[in-house]
């Protein structure tokens, strides 16, 4: 049991189960399989974004521009669809993913080639990307009736009883697991964040790895842009405003160290689910939705404190194990 609690993923699973059980005491219908599937579906976009942010945070950087990238890509997707309703949706998705990748690569290039601190770069691009949405759209909304039915239907299409949005997030989780564990790039993310100097000596280009992390987060933000706009069937300047904090919160809760090098796909997913459960549970247990912001703030602070303790303890545990091996 003690070993179980030391593992961050298990700790989160226990926390989420306890949370769901508490909610079930107040409101039993919350735990029906159908509703839990809905909660997962509702959290899918956050999961996709948290996985992109995870790659960036692992390399000791941060991407504050993800939500703005999402909003810009979403607006472009909606505008393309409104102008050319006949264009196949998969092509639209590819276009916005490419756009997201370009926006992410701008962050990456500034961090890689100019050595500007990531927080400054992404603070800057955050405001620039938001502003660009206004320039593109002239401040106008693109509403449901301007979008084609196929555009709006895609995330909702049921496959084997679950919406495509849920399946898509599962596929991305699968891809990310393979990338993080089985590819040189995935291992490079950990190496760069764990010890940049050591990474250089092992032949890893630190800047280039960070660049690719930003491209990855940008691509996922672009995809999430389409998903967001088609799911809520509206695009305007302020969609997902402030969502960058939720994304970072999901990562921090998931045990991804802001100092880089520590984290896992499972942690990011569970961190996002934890926030998703809270968000979906508040209305049904009669807590004002206005309390959500304060609750996520508290959860972030607690999660950071827990992370810091876990990281401090880690060194000692390894030492003790080494001593045990010697003796």
């Amino acid at each position: 049991m003690k070993l179980l609690l030391k593992n961050r993923e298990m700790l989160l699973v226990v926390a989420i189960v306890a949370l769901v059980a508490l909610i079930a005491l107040r409101f039993p219908p919350f735990v029906t399989p159908g509703n839990l599937a809905n909660v997962y579906n509702d959290t899918s976009i956050l999961i996709i974004l948290a996985l992109g942010q995870m790659a960036v945070i692992l390399t000791r950087c941060i991407d504050l521009s993800m939500a703005a990238n999402l909003a810009l890509s979403g607006m472009v997707a909606a505008m393309i669809n409104a102008a050319m309703p006949g264009l196949p949706i998969p092509l639209v998705i590819l276009i916005v993913m490419a756009l997201g990748a370009v926006l992410g690569s701008i962050n990456g290039l500034l961090v890689w080639k100019l050595d500007i601190p990531p927080i400054v770069v992404t603070l800057g691009t955050l405001t620039i990307y938001r502003g660009l949405i206004f320039l593109l759209s002239g401040g106008a909304w693109i509403n449901a009736h301007q979008m084609s039915d196929a555009f709006k239907a895609l995330p909702r299409t049921a496959v084997l009883g679950f919406p495509l949005l849920s399946w898509l997030s599962l596929v991305i989780i699968g891809i990310m697991v393979v990338v993080m564990r089985r590819t040189p790039l995935g291992r490079a993310f950990f190496a760069v964040g764990g010890n940049p100097h050591a990474a250089v000596y092992t032949g890893i280009d630190v800047g280039r790895t960070r660049f690719f992390a930003y491209c990855l987060s940008g691509t996922l933000a672009g995809l999430a842009g389409y998903l967001w706009v088609s799911r809520y069937a509206v695009a305007y300047v302020d969609i997902a405003a402030g969502f960058e904090l939720d994304i970072i919160a999901a990562c921090v809760i998931g045990g991804i160290s802001i100092a880089g090098g520590i984290g896992s796909v499972g942690g990011a997913v569970l961190g996002a689910l934890f926030l998703g459960v809270i968000k979906n549970a508040l209305p049904v247990i009669n807590i004002s939705p206005f309390a959500q912001m304060a609750i996520s703030g508290t959860v972030i602070i607690i999660a950071v404190a827990v992370n810091a303790r876990a990281e401090k303890r880690k060194g000692r545990v390894i030492l003790r194990k080494a001593e045990a091996a010697h003796g």
Binding site: V120, A249, S288, G297
Partner: protein, 334 residues
């Protein structure tokens, strides 16, 4: 071992003379930019040079600049505080609540300052007491503080501030010089003296350049950082008093997004985001530049969000240009 000839060499303390350094400094560049913007503005709009218009324009930056002074010290010490805008919101909410209880102006100010100090102390305790990274802590408290004002206010607003309270945001000390502008000048002088002329100021630089070395030199790193977070909370409270008095009402979304503008102002002022260097005169100049740009664009009917693109580009380019320049010079000399 080769015999080396000992030659007395003159090694200067600094590579360039005082004048050369002054010409090449970041602050000189800022002065030039400020003058250029001033000239462009006065040609672009006939209304720019009116003293009352200029006086109105100062409201664009005074409140943010007050926070920027404290933020500059925090950033020089190697930390950051992203919760300042949320402290404004919570402070303003607390004062609004006090108004409902029938508090008068001096009591309101005390409530505001106390709330700001409490928020700052909370940040400071988390960062120095528990040793947590300030960027995540203040992202958390940013959501917590504003979240609390959402819990208290919901979609409502507090109004009905007493007449005497509004003087802090709308009053004039003499002719076109508003209370806020005078406060800005006084605070600029105080912060300039503290940072550049006191041992406390020197320890801030020491911590920002090498925290471990500062600790071993006998600097109480934790205590200094705690004081800096306390100061930031206090300045956010003062800004909140001015802003609330100026607007005459409190909504939970008050001062939304200001943390970015404050950080931009500090970085534009030449403070190294990684800590260790920066000056108060630089921050003052950056505040003037941002205020004039916002005001000039406003006179030309440029929408606010387009200005934010400009601010974003400004933030990135002011950091990128010196790096590019240095790289270009480095390549040429080789």
């Amino acid at each position: 071992m080769a015999e080396t000839q000992m030659v007395a060499r003159h090694i200067p303390d600094r590579l360039e003379g005082r004048g050369a350094r002054l010409v090449k400094s970041w602050e000189t560049l800022l002065v030039a930019v400020a003058l250029a913007i001033f000239l462009v503005n006065s040609f672009a709009s006939p209304y720019f040079l009116d003293p009352w218009n200029l006086s109105d324009a100062t409201f664009n930056f005074t409140e943010k600049a007050m926070i920027a002074f404290a933020m500059a010290l925090v950033i020089i010490s190697g930390e950051i505080d992203l919760s300042v805008a949320s402290i404004i919101a919570l402070t303003s909410t607390a004062m609004g609540y006090a108004v409902q209880l029938g508090f008068d102006t001096p009591a309101l100010v005390m409530v505001g300052l106390a709330t700001g100090l409490l928020c700052g102390a909370f940040n400071g305790l988390l960062v120095t007491g528990l040793g947590l990274p300030s960027i995540v802590v203040t992202i958390g408290t940013m959501s917590l503080f504003r979240g609390l004002s959402f819990v208290i206010l919901g979609d409502k607003a507090f109004t009905g501030y007493p007449e005497s309270f509004s003087w802090f945001g709308q009053g004039y000390v003499w002719w076109v010089f508003s209370f806020e502008l005078c406060l800005f000048v006084v605070l600029a002088v105080i912060y300039g003296v503290v940072l550049h002329r006191t041992s406390f100021g020197r320890t801030i630089y020491a911590i920002g350049n090498n925290q471990t070395a500062a600790l071993f030199s006998g600097v109480r790193v934790g205590r200094v950082k705690f004081v800096l977070f306390l100061l930031t909370g206090l300045m956010a409270a003062i800004a909140s008093i001015c802003l609330t008095a100026r607007l005459g009402s409190t909504r939970p979304s008050i001062a939304m997004g200001w943390e970015l503008e404050v950080v931009t102002m500090v970085v534009l002022g030449g403070v190294n985001i990684l800590g260790g260097s920066g000056t108060i005169p630089g921050v003052v100049l950056a505040a003037l530049i941002m205020g004039m740009v916002t005001f000039g664009f406003g006179l030309l009917n440029v929408p606010g969000i387009v200005m934010s693109i400009f601010i974003g580009l400004l933030l990135i380019s002011v950091i990128a240009l010196p790096i590019l320049y240095r790289r270009f010079r480095g390549r040429r000399s080789h």
